[in-house]
């Protein structure tokens, strides 16, 4: 039985309780307020609002390789009930839930869902998302994977004019009910918000080659042929020279795809780049955004020996913004194990094991809120209507705080839908 999730959530008002009761009694509703897809309550755009008892949002979408794109943002309440907002779909979609509301996007629009209603505005973009951030001064910025420049223009998917950027990502700046979009060069393996700017780590791209060479980059004989560069991608730099911050000849793009953080102007992340003179599979990376060199420390155990984990966990790793002090980085690996790494020497302590291996399951994902980590994973064997559980744990001790079980049922609705981003209601 589900306990009341989130002690700080207020009980739904009388009006909402009446509406929910009507939905339950009538099944598929004739009112304009909502309809249903099986057990989901579909929220109509004109009347949708973020109810007080919604604790988690989940984006499910077709993949970009599917012949038709569609998606839903599922709103899960504290009793496991599910409402849904239809979208046109977005592969690898991210959700941002902040004091402004719940922000999300699809190929045609951007959305902001609040307790007062759903704002949407036209915002055309490609169908694979890379990242989304909450801007400090309000609004949101998000990044999308478009593809190679020339053909993208031919298909009307890239900005006309301007220099040839080679491989393109789109940056969308959203706020005050509107969005603007521009292209940047690169295919990001890391994106991070530092202050009010967004930075990207990507393999040196065509327009940056000569600049990167002047900084010491050289082409390699095996893939990846160019090393990584750090560029500012938001706000849009006035020139390539302004955007390019540094390059690192030893960086080969193998970073934690699920989240890097920024601390004191430096990007902090976990990497599987092989390092000279060590057999450590992983390293903790500090990459300053002011042009200073990237620093990588091999990750070792308290005994000084390489941590006995394989590099394959990196791609499913997420790094927490919260840390017990400025010298440590707390992260949950793709193997589900939570670790704390001391930045200066790479000394790493295993804290606890969540049992959730994201690298093995497309139904498992993590989210952070302060010193709490949320794990969404399936209960038992797969079924189209399987139980999922959202559990919250103290990030350091692993103590279980709350468990919510829910049947998301998205593959029962449409077997082409995949679990993408999740967001948890902010505390307070």
């Amino acid at each position: 039985m589900n306990r009341q999730f989130f002690g700080h959530v207020r009980a739904p008002g009388r009006g909402l309780r009446v509406l929910v009761a009507l939905c339950l009694v009538m099944g598929v509703l004739a009112t304009s307020g909502c309809s249903s897809v099986d057990r989901w309550k579909i929220l109509d755009g004109s009347t949708a609002a973020l109810a007080d008892d919604v604790v988690m949002a989940v984006y499910v979408s077709h993949q970009s390789s599917d012949s038709s794109m569609s998606g839903y943002v599922l709103l899960v309440d504290s009793h496991g009930g599910v409402s849904a907002v239809r979208t046109s779909g977005m592969d690898l979609a991210q959700l941002v839930w902040d004091e402004q509301g719940l922000f999300f996007s699809d190929t045609d629009k951007d959305y902001l869902l609040t307790g007062q209603g759903l704002d949407t505005w036209a915002s055309s973009k490609t169908d694979v998302q890379v990242a989304a951030f909450s801007k400090p001064g309000g609004g949101h910025v998000s990044v999308y994977n478009l593809g190679f420049g020339d053909s993208a223009r031919d298909l009307g998917q890239a900005d006309e004019g301007g220099e040839d950027l080679g491989y393109i990502e789109q940056v969308v700046d959203s706020g005050d009910g509107g969005s603007s979009r521009y292209d940047v060069a690169g295919f990001s393996s890391v994106t991070a918000l530092c202050g009010s700017s967004v930075f990207s780590v990507s393999e040196v791209g065509d327009p940056y080659v000569s600049l990167a060479q002047a900084m010491g980059a050289s082409q390699r004989t095996s893939a990846p042929v160019w090393p990584d560069m750090l560029t500012q991608i938001y706000p849009k730099p006035l020139s390539l020279e302004e955007g390019l911050k540094s390059v690192d000849q030893d960086s080969i793009g193998d970073y934690a795809l699920r989240g890097s953080v920024c601390r004191d102007g430096s990007i902090l992340t976990i990497s599987a780049n092989p390092m000279k003179n060590t057999n450590a599979a992983l390293s903790v990376v500090t990459w300053p955004t002011d042009g200073r060199p990237r620093v990588a420390q091999p990750i070792v155990g308290p005994d000084g020996k390489a941590l006995p984990v394989g590099s394959e966990i990196v791609s499913g790793t997420s790094v927490a913004e919260w840390s017990p002090d400025s010298d440590h980085l707390v992260w949950i690996g793709g193997d589900g194990v939570v670790r704390s790494t001391e930045l200066s020497h790479g000394t790493t302590t295993t804290l606890w094991d969540s049992g959730a291996e994201r690298i093995r399951s497309p139904y498992t994902t993590f989210a952070f809120s302060g010193s709490t980590v949320y794990v969404l994973d399936p209960v038992g064997a797969w079924a189209p209507d399987m139980q999922m559980r959202l559990r919250s744990h103290d990030l350091v001790t692993g103590e279980t705080r709350e468990v919510l079980t829910v049947k998301l049922g998205f593959e029962r609705v449409d077997k082409g839908l995949c679990l993408r981003g999740i967001a948890i209601r902010p505390a307070g």
């Binding site: 390789s65 012949s67 994977n145 190679f148 053909s151 042929v225 193998d254 699920r258």
Partner: protein, 243 residues
């Protein structure tokens, strides 16, 4: 009899036999239309006019009749669809998607169950590094890179290495990354064996990467088109993981 004429007669007999076995009916004109229609149905997104034009070009290039070209192309398309359907995800069985994840070597390939506009042909891509693939995702989309940690594929997907050296596999993967991401999608699987085409579909991209760099032909059954399951069944590919 000149060798070329003899070959045309023999090919014509083969094509006629194929056409009869494929259920074509009496009139040659009607049979051609019938074949073209079915070929178009198995290559969604390609009009019969486009196919007719491609058939004509191929016939002129090879000296075969258009009927012969269509019959061979249709046979390949049917075989591909049958092979792919045998690997299709069954809705009554287990979970439908899994994470693709790392490959073993650059140049590895994956073949996953997938349909294009409701025709089951499978999907394939090539590893540029062990953590990044290059793929032609589908109609109206350009070929691009994707990280394998966030790439979901159908259950039953296989990862394969190609029976070449590590360095050669790396060359093929790098060629795909550097030169083959600049491509709109080619809906025509039936006649897609062009290694420098301005548009490419998924299996064409993988096949072209190996053909261009190493002259290694991953098409297991030859012919005019290369489909994802032709690559899966190639004697040059070795399955090392099934998801």
């Amino acid at each position: 009899m000149k060798r070329r004429n003899k070959n045309r007669i023999v090919a014509g007999l083969i094509a006629t036999t194929l056409a009869m076995s494929l259920g074509a009916i009496q009139s040659p004109a009607f049979a051609a239309t019938d074949l073209l229609g079915e070929l178009a149905a198995l290559n969604p997104g390609v009009s019969t006019n486009e196919l007719q034009s491609a058939v004509r070009i191929e016939a002129e290039k090879t000296g075969q009749s258009e009927m012969e070209v269509m019959a061979v192309a249709l046979q390949e398309a049917r075989v591909s669809a049958a092979a792919a359907s045998g690997n299709a995800v069954r809705s009554s069985g287990g979970n439908t998607t899994v994470i693709l994840g790392d490959g073993a070597f650059p140049g590895d390939v994956f073949i996953s169950p997938a349909s294009t506009l409701f025709i089951e042909h499978g999907h394939t891509g090539i590893y540029y590094t062990t953590k990044m693939i290059v793929e032609a995702p589908g109609p109206d989309k350009v070929s691009r890179s994707m990280y394998t940690a966030t790439f979901s594929v159908g259950v039953g997907t296989v990862k394969q290495y190609v029976n070449v050296s590590y360095a050669d596999g790396d060359k093929a993967g790098t060629h795909a990354y550097v030169n083959l991401r600049n491509k709109p999608y080619n809906n025509n699987f039936a006649m897609n064996k062009n290694i420098t085409a301005s548009s490419m579909n998924c299996s064409q991209l993988v096949w072209a990467a190996y053909m261009y760099t190493l002259n290694v032909d991953l098409d297991s059954n030859g012919g005019l088109g290369v489909y994802p399951y032709d690559i899966k069944n190639s004697p040059r590919t070795v399955t090392y993981q099934t998801l």
